[in-house]
Amino acid sequence: MTIKKKITLTVNGASITAEVEPRQHLVDFLREDLFLKGPHLGCEHGACGACTVKVDGQIIRGCLFLAVQADGSVVETIEGLTKSGALADLQESFMRHNAMQCGFCSSGMLLAAAELIEKQPTSTREEVREWISGNYCRCTGYHSIVSAIMDVLEARLKGEKIKPVVAHA
């Protein structure tokens, strides 16, 4: 139980070396050892998607992926992707549509949506629904999330940016 393994990885651009138990999941490592608040734990068996993070450019379930598996990898979470601006259009669009309520699913939902935008830039509403159906949202009913993603897809096709959400005058 106390046997630990040394891992080195890059998290949100910072190089990290740590000793972890081989049984520790990546999301627990990110939350408990690195104090990140973005990736959440919802179901702990890969069903809900709240723990979604990026490893070497691909989204994964942080609760099914061991920290030791991330040794030598580049890990990105909502915090890092927010800072880099990679999610800015989606975040503005989610704000505009109120495509989050409690916000617990939002980190994972945004990462899933960002990958959709990258891989299926001409998706229809139905295809967006299918893509995000691995991410569970109990609050919104999904309608507004689909609308928010569609707006970004449409803006991208026109080469436009999503305008920042500001308070009404």
């Binding site: 139980m1 990736p39 919802g42 975040q91 704000m95 409690c102 109990r138 919104t140």
Partner: protein, 798 residues
């Protein structure tokens, strides 16, 4: 009187002098952090010296607890304590969850950790605290409890049989609560009616599945004897009160803090045994203790809801008038009534609400609430409404079918007319003002009803079976003290708000109702900005801390907008008056000659800007020496609001569902869903739309997918998100929402609640749509969730 005819034009009247935000789809500015991974949920909080607790829970539905062996676990690395029920009972009193106004209701004393017996699979028995969660879980494997399985009461159908074992022998039987209601000559009406239709409706148990599990950190400081509890909870003051009473503390000794809450839906408005146990452990150890339920624990220990079997019938005459309803409701609640709201409320609501939208004058209802050895049930989003609505609307469709009347026309003919209010419903409910007729007209247009029927008919010829289903509904919101207060439960129906002008000119509002994602903070900012007269950018909303917010009830029964919002309005209007008084003192002018416009005090007559709020703050706080002797600036005011005119303020609405049923597979495809909602004054259309949509999808979960399945011995068979089906994006339809606005006259704001009507109406609408699709086969299914299997069985295919 508050009739829609008298209200004409009123809905357009502004609430404040310069209304910019109320009524508009203002984004939730403070929610941005949630999209950046910067929310602070309980599990994000780490305190120094914090221990982690896990619970050894009963592995069976009913067991006698023997000797508990803890020695091995105590010796495991990092273990701080192992505590059983007897030890816990030395500091935490047991409780009995009954309400005095539910006459005859009974329940047994319940302990934070079970003593002698455990009565459902998942009941906490032993607590293990360690320095890390992993260490606690490792030690949990070494807890040995000697136990003997006892016979379990699983089926509610036989719970009252003479040969069924008693769960709590001292109560005399397994009956928690029973109620009958008999209005009008029901037997005579059924005997002489032109048509009578009947059906038996089944409702599977389901649960809330909040994405963030229940969690808390209890931090007891032995030095100052103060308890701080960080909690993912909907009612912080309620929990503060309960901790005081169960542990013998006073209010000032206990602080409950609710930061971001990752979904609630009623799941997080109850006091769970492990809530008390976690607090007890923190007090025993004198250090913080964190509890975070894992998903399996959530499925077996979060409250369940909705397990009902209802025999219902309806009588109508050949002209198409509904004459009477009759129901017999059997429901089971687990082994204990849940603290402190009680588990009898759900069935009680069913009795109150069946037939609610209609003007019939004869009604009989019988309710039996029984105990069983399954997870306790209690209030979950909609509380009784989805059941009452599905029964009522299912019967209404059956009657329309028998009369060969169009179901929408039948509803139009029978709803209580919009000019009949205020009036009482047949069950005795008081209805202030509703708009059924207007809502039905609106939905007819929205769905282009004739075109939809035409499409259905055309497709049917091609062997495609589509169905259109309606559900008219009422929902109780803005509860008065008559809900819990009269029953002796210490649950506040009032709420308070404090509005403070800060020196910089920013207005901070402290309010007892918190935020779980509905957008309450957003609408409070809108109300505050309009009521004080400033930009929404200059408003801060502070919630979720019993040390600082005025005492209030929190989030339940759709009261955030109607009760909390009114408190904010009253406090902010009072603050504006005080700002004008201070400006008058500074300027040596009568306050009546001044007005507020967007963060400035103006001369009312000339419109000239005289003082910005920042200057008022500066003088009001730092240069009081320049003000007249005896003048008090009072830049912080508190106002409370209780809705006292009616037991509740009812809202209403109608939903329509369009589905396609494959008769070969029983598969139901949801094509589209529509809702017309009248929640009084709409404070933020976007947020209301999203409340309605999210609630509808939870209702769809209930009618099509969700069920806590038990085996014959009372073991939960589907305690994971992979096995318990919840709606995901690709199964859900687009949902169109329209509003009718009939403000309540019980408040200045006119807002009614909007959080639950979607969940109330969706099961009935989808059920009716499925049965409309199945009509050519002369079969119908009234057993929810309506699975493929049940449809195929009804069709005689399996």
């Amino acid at each position: 009187m508050n009739k829609p005819a008298d209200l004409k034009g009123l809905i357009l009247d502004p609430v404040t002098n310069d209304q910019r935000y109320i009524g508009n789809s203002e984004p939730r500015h403070r929610a941005r952090r949630l999209l950046e991974g910067q929310g602070t949920y309980v599990d994000d909080i780490q305190l120094p010296r914090m221990g982690h607790v896990v619970y050894w829970r009963s592995p069976v539905a009913h067991m006698k607890i023997g000797k508990i062996h803890t020695e091995h676990a105590l010796g495991m690395p990092g273990v701080l304590a192992v505590v059983d029920g007897v030890q816990m009972a030395t500091i935490c009193k047991p409780w009995v969850a009954t309400l005095e106004h539910l006459v005859g209701m009974k329940s047994a004393p319940q302990y934070a950790l079970a003593i002698d017996r455990a009565c459902w699979q998942g009941e906490p028995v032993v607590a293990v605290v360690a320095e890390t969660r992993a260490q606690a879980e490792d030690a949990l494997q070494h807890i040995e409890v000697e136990w003997e399985e006892l016979p379990a009461v699983v089926s509610m159908e036989t719970a009252l049989d003479a040969d069924t074992p008693l769960i709590h022998p001292e109560l005399g039987d397994n009956l928690c609560f029973t109620r009958t209601l008999d209005v009008g000559s029901v037997d005579e009406v059924f005997a002489s009616a032109d048509i009578v239709a009947e059906a038996t409706f089944g409702f599977g148990r389901h649960t809330g599945v909040t994405l963030e599990p229940r969690c808390q950190i209890a931090d007891y400081n032995p030095g100052d004897r103060r308890l701080v509890v960080y909690h993912s909870q909907q009612a912080p003051h309620m929990m503060q009160d309960l901790y005081c009473r169960q542990f013998g503390l006073s209010e000032s000794d206990v602080q409950v803090i609710c930061k971001d809450v990752g979904g609630s839906f009623g799941i997080k408005v109850h006091a769970y045994p492990d809530d008390f146990a976690t607090v007890g452990l923190a007090m025993m150890l004198g250090r913080p203790v964190k509890f975070v339920a894992d998903r399996l624990e959530s499925f077996t220990s979060d409250i369940h809801a909705r397990e009902h079997r209802i025999k219902g019938r309806i009588a109508a005459n050949k002209d198409g008038d509904i004459l009477a309803f009759e129901i017999d409701d059997l429901t089971a609640i687990g082994p204990y009534s849940m603290f402190p709201r009680t588990s009898a409320i759900e069935g009680n609501q069913v009795v109150n609400l069946v037939g609610g939208p209609y003007k019939h004058q004869h009604y009989r209802a019988k309710l039996n609430v029984v105990f069983q050895n399954k997870t306790p049930t209690c209030q979950y989003r909609g509380v009784g409404h989805p059941i009452a609505c599905a029964v009522t609307e299912g019967l209404v469709d059956l009657a329309a079918q028998k009369l060969k009347m169009d179901p929408l026309e039948f509803r139009k003919r029978n709803v209580i007319p919009d000019d009949a209010y205020p009036c009482s419903g047949i069950s005795g409910i008081k209805l202030e003002v509703l708009s059924h007729e207007q809502c039905l007209r609106t939905i007819e247009k929205m769905i282009d009803y004739p075109a939809l029927r035409k499409e259905q008919t055309e497709l049917r010829k091609k062997g495609i079976y589509r169905g259109i289903g309606f559900a008219t509904l009422i929902e109780l919101t803005n509860p008065s003290p008559a809900f819990y207060g009269v029953g002796g439960a210490r649950i506040a129906s009032q709420d308070g708000a404090t509005a403070r002008l800060d020196p910089s000119g920013v207005v901070s509002v402290l309010i007892g109702v918190g935020e779980q994602g509905q957008g309450t903070e957003g609408i409070y900012a809108q109300i505050a900005a309009d009521a004080v007269g400033i930009s929404i950018k200059d408003v801060r909303i502070i919630t979720g801390d019993t040390d600082v917010t005025p005492y209030g009830g929190g989030t339940w029964a759709s009261r955030g907008a109607g009760v909390g919002g009114e408190a904010v309005l009253l406090a902010c209007q009072a603050l504006q008056q005080n700002i004008l008084k201070l400006a008058g003192a500074i300027l040596n002018k009568p306050p009546e000659s001044l007005s507020v416009y967007r963060g400035n005090v103006l001369d009312k007559a000339s419109g000239e800007t005289l003082l910005p709020f920042g200057e008022i703050g500066r003088i009001g706080y730092f240069r009081t020496d320049t003000l007249p002797i005896g003048f008090s600036a009072d830049l912080m005011v508190t106002r409370h609001y209780t809705q006292k005119e009616y037991p509740f303020i009812f809202t209403n609405g109608v939903q329509a569902s369009y589905v396609e049923v494959d008769p070969d597979t029983g598969f139901v495809k949801l094509l589209k869903h529509w809702a017309v909602e009248d929640c009084g004054r709409v404070l933020n259309p976007m947020l209301v739309d999203e409340q309605v949509r999210g609630a509808i999808v939870q209702g769809i979960g209930g009618v099509l997918f969700e069920e806590c399945l038990y085996d014959e011995s009372g073991l939960l068979r589907n305690g994971s998100m992979a096995d318990y089906l919840v709606p995901m994006a690709n199964e859900m339809p687009d949902i169109e929402v329209a509003h009718v606005q009939t403000p309540t006259q019980s408040s200045k704001l006119g807002a009614k609640g909007a959080g639950e009507a979607g969940t109330a109406g969706a099961p009935g609408a989808v059920q009716n749509a499925i049965n409309d699709a199945l009509a050519p086969f002369n079969v119908a299914v009234f057993d929810q969730p309506i699975t493929c299997e049940k449809i195929l069985k009804a069709l005689g295919k399996i």
